[in-house]
Symmetry: C2
Subunit: 146 residues, 2 copies
């Protein structure tokens, strides 16, 4: 069951400049940064609020590390902007199986590694009224020792 807006993924050309925009304009601070080589992105998570399911909602700023990454190709086509939205769940495997059974294309056979040790998958935007949709289970839920 999807219980929160986990994050909004925003593609940008220059991560440092964009982080500084969000800090200077709204006072949002960086909660976490990492490079995800598999996804081909350098990213910053800005925590905006906590959520009623025990999680939190973030802005995820994404700079491609290579032009042929998914975000790099998207950015070349669309320019900077909202790349995807992500819903949080305690069980991404169960929810991915559930939506697949309902006829929505799930882009990964098995969930992959997302931000902060989370497990994620994506749903095809053409099956979701144009919205690239991520399902995410945070590491904290699955691995309480972290």
């Amino acid at each position: 069951m999807l219980t929160r807006i986990d994050h909004i993924g925003i593609a940008c050309r220059d991560l440092d400049t964009t982080v500084e925009f969000y800090r200077a304009t709204y006072g949002f601070e960086v909660f976490h940064t990492e490079v995800n080589e598999e996804q081909g992105v350098r990213e910053a998570m800005l925590k905006i609020n906590e959520t009623s399911d025990g999680g939190a909602s973030y802005l995820q700023l994404l700079e491609p590390t290579r032009e042929d990454s998914a975000v790099g190709k998207w950015l070349a086509k669309n320019g900077e902007g909202v790349h995807h939205i992500a819903f949080g769940t305690a069980d991404v495997d169960a929810d991915a199986a559930d939506v697949r059974e309902k006829g929505v294309r799930v882009l990964y056979d098995e969930p992959r590694r997302g931000s902060m040790g989370s497990r994620i998958t994506f749903l095809h935007p053409k099956d979701c009224h144009g919205v690239l949709t991520e399902l995410v289970t945070s590491a904290a839920v699955e691995s309480p020792e972290h």
Copy 2:
């Protein structure tokens, strides 16, 4: 001060079909519907979670009521997808003045009426790294009797 992701605004061609997609796929239920003639939209709010500032996060599904509305024109150009993101604040007037002073173009001189009696304004996407950004103060915060 912006204290939550208030909603993600999603433009769609047919509101009823899109509401049904979100219900059937994820179990999200309609919390509120309305027509905003000024904005030229028919909309449904799906409440996803409550937030640590006492508010909530929603998906806002938007169907244009006329082709020459902002959402109608956006949809004709971009197709269905994420139209804007919205941050919640207890004082949209103060935050709009603050970001205007920082050089971000604020699209309305004074906040206008948004969903569920809220007061809203928008920031120019070209000043926000491609993201059409809304600031919103909910009616509940300003008018506790509602």
